[in-house]
Symmetry: C2
Subunit: 358 residues, 2 copies
C-alpha cells in the first residue's frame, strides 16, 4: 500500500537500528547522581547549583543521552514555546521564504514552529488546521497570506493568544499585521512607467476585496492621477490570482480598443500569466508593450528581455512578524494596541520597460 504507485522500489539493508528505549528522564539522572529531582531541574533552568553537582549532572546527562522533555515542561509551565504558522490553501513561492524566515528567527529564541495549511480537504476525519494548533496549545499563531477564511483566525483571537498576520490582514480581525506597503508599491511601479514616457497605462489586479491588491491598484491610480493621466476603464483588469486568469486578463488588455503601451501586473501569478500572454500574442516584451511585474525575481532573469519587477522585502517581513510575535509572548500585555507594520519593497530594474520618446 505504501509502495503504491511506485515506479521502482527495492528493499535493502538489514534492520533499522533498534535503540528504542524510552528517553532518559530526571529520574535516570537522579539514579546516577544521587541528587534530588529539584536540583536537577534547577540545573536545567539556569539556577544556581554547586559546581561539583553541575559536573556530575552533565556527565550523567551525556552518558544517558538525556534531552529535556519539552512538553512535560510545557504542561507544568502552561506555555509551549511553540507558535503555529498557518498557510493559505494556495501556494505562492515566497511563502516558503516567509515561513523559513519566521522559523529561523523563532528558533533562535528557542521557539518551535508548528506548520499547518488551510487546505479544506474533503476528508471528514481531517482535523481543522486551527483546531490542531489550538489543541496543541501553541502560544500564538502567525497567519501567512492570504486567508480566504479569516474566521479560523477569529477563534484563535477569541481564545486570547496573540495573532499576527502577514501580507494581508482581514478587516475586522483584531491582530497585528506585517505587510508590504502596497500603495507605495503600486505608486513606485507605476511612476517608473510614467517616467519612461508612458501615458496609456494598464493594470492587472485581483478581484474586489483582495486587500493587498487593492492597495497596489490605489497606488497605481494615485500615480496616474498625479501625472494627469486618466485610465480607461477597460485598462484595469481584475482577475483571480492565478496564472490562467492572469493570462486571460492580459489578453483582454491587449485586445482593448486602444492597447496600453505599459502594464503593471500586481502579483506573481498575474505576472507569469501576463508574460505568457504577451509572448503568445506575438508581441514583444519591452518593445511593443512595457511591463512591470511583481515578486517574480527568478522569472525576471529568464524572460527576454529581463523583466522589471517590484520585489517585496520577504526576509524582512518574515523577521518582523516573528519579532512581533516574540515580543507578544515575552510580555503578554493584552492591553497593547494593534501593531500594523507596512514595509517598503524595491524596484528591480530589468529591460522590460521601454523609453517612449514621443
Amino acid at each position: 500500500m505504501s509502495v503504491n504507485g511506485a515506479h521502482n522500489s527495492r528493499y535493502e539493508g538489514p534492520k533499522l537500528s533498534t535503540s528504542n528505549r524510552s528517553p532518559a528522564t530526571y529520574k535516570d539522572i537522579q539514579r546516577l547522581t544521587g541528587l534530588s529531582l529539584a536540583t536537577i531541574s534547577k540545573y536545567y533552568n539556569g539556577r544556581n547549583v554547586l559546581s561539583s553537582n553541575r559536573e556530575v549532572i552533565e556527565s550523567a546527562a551525556t552518558e544517558l543521552n538525556y534531552r529535556p522533555n519539552a512538553f512535560a515542561s510545557s504542561l507544568r509551565r502552561g506555555v509551549t514555546r511553540t507558535v503555529g504558522v498557518l498557510l493559505p490553501s494556495f501556494q505562492v513561492p515566497f511563502h516558503l521564504e516567509i515561513v523559513v524566515g519566521i522559523e529561523k528567527y523563532l528558533r533562535s529564541q528557542g521557539i518551535g514552529v508548528l506548520l499547518t495549511s488551510n487546505e479544506q480537504d474533503g476528508t471528514p476525519s481531517s482535523v481543522n488546521a486551527v483546531e490542531l494548533l489550538l489543541s496543541r496549545r501553541v502560544d500564538g499563531i502567525i497567519g501567512v497570506p492570504a486567508l480566504s477564511d479569516s474566521s479560523a483566525l477569529d477563534t484563535a483571537v477569541s481564545i486570547g493568544i496573540p495573532v499576527v498576520t502577514v501580507d494581508w490582514c482581514p478587516s475586522g480581525l483584531d491582530a497585528d499585521s506585517v505587510t508590504l506597503d502596497n500603495v507605495q508599491a503600486g505608486k513606485v511601479a507605476t511612476q517608473h512607467l510614467i517616467d519612461h514616457g508612458h501615458r496609456t497605462l494598464g493594470a492587472l489586479v485581483g478581484e474586489e476585496g483582495m486587500w493587498s491588491l487593492q492597495g497596489r491598484l490605489d497606488g497605481f491610480l494615485a500615480a496616474a492621477r498625479a501625472a494627469g493621466i486618466t485610465i480607461a476603464e477597460d485598462h484595469i483588469q481584475r482577475a483571480p490570482l492565478n496564472v490562467d486568469d492572469g493570462y486571460a486578463a492580459m489578453m483582454r488588455l491587449l485586445a482593448a480598443d486602444t492597447r496600453p503601451t505599459a502594464v503593471f501586473a500586481g502579483n506573481y501569478d498575474l505576472t507569469v500569466g501576463a508574460v505568457a500572454a504577451l509572448n503568445d500574442s506575438g508581441l514583444r516584451l519591452g518593445r511593443d508593450v512595457s511591463l512591470v511585474g511583481f515578486d517574480s525575481v527568478e522569472l525576471a532573469q529568464v524572460t527576454r528581455p529581463k523583466l522589471t519587477v517590484y520585489v517585496q522585502p520577504v526576509e524582512q517581513i518574515a523577521t518582523e512578524a516573528a519579532r512581533i510575535m516574540n515580543a507578544r509572548l515575552d510580555t503578554p500585555d493584552a492591553s497593547r494596541s494593534r501593531i500594523v507594520l507596512e514595509l517598503p519593497g524595491h524596484l528591480q530594474i530589468g529591460a522590460s520597460v521601454r523609453r517612449l520618446s514621443d
Copy 2:
C-alpha cells in the same frame, strides 16, 4: 525596536480582546456534569459512553469552549503525534509544495508538523534544529532535500525514531527515502534531445557527491551511450546548485570548442542560470541551442519559446513520504527493512528543443 525599519507604522484599535483565562480541562467538565474524569476521557477517546452522558459532556464542552490538551495526552501516552520536517539551508521552490503535501496528509491522520530549517545561523544561543525536534519528542522526522549535514539526521536515527528522507538520501543513513527516479529522468530528458536529431549534447549537473544530480547525469550518459553518442569532456559542466554558478557553467558550455546543439540542465537553479546565460550571449533558445530544463514549470511558461522541462511528481513524493512515515508510526516494527521509493516524473513539452534535420 519591533518597529525598526518600518516605512510606515500606525497604532490603532482600542485593546486586544482579553479572554485570557486558561483553557478548560476535564475538571471543568466534571464540575458541570458530575461525571468522573475517566468517563470524560473515554468519551474523548471514542470509547463507549451512555448517550445521555455523551450529550451532557458535549454541551458542557461547548459551553466551556473545551479543547483537548494534546501534550498532556502526549505525556501520558508517550507519543506526540507530531513529526518534524527538516528543510535544508537553501531553498528550492518545490520544497514548499513538498512540505504542504506532507502536512496535508499527516493532518488528515491527526498528526502535526513541526517545521525546522537546517540553517546554521551563527547565533550561539540558537538551538540546533534537530535538537529542537528531539526535545519536543517528535515521533519521527522527515528530512526534505538536501542535507549537506546528514549527521543531524544520524542522531535522530540513533534515537530510534523513524526517519524518512525526501529527494535525496545520504549514503550510510539508515532511513527510508522517497526520491525521483533520477536515472530515468536523465534518460528521458536526454532521449528527447536525441529523438530530435541532436548528437552534440551538453549537460549541466551538480558537483560530485550530489546523489540526485549524479543519477540524472548517469541517465544522461546512458541514453547517449545507447544512441552511440560520445560526450566530450568539456560538455559536462559541474556547478554548485545555484543560479549564478549555473549561469557560469552554461557560459562555459557555450564557449566550448564545439558548442553543443542541445543541453540538459539537471536542476531548477541550473535551468534558470542556463536560460539567462543563453539570452545574455545573444543566442536564441530552441534555435541556436536546444534546452531541456528541470522542475521549472512556471519558468517554462515565460521563456520564449516555452521551455521543455522534466517535472518531478512533487505532490506524489510528498504524499508517499508522509504515508511511509505514518505507517512506521502505526506499526513501530523496527525490524522492517528500509523502504527506498523511486518515483517517475514526466517531460513537459515546450518548444525549446528544435528538430535537427541534418
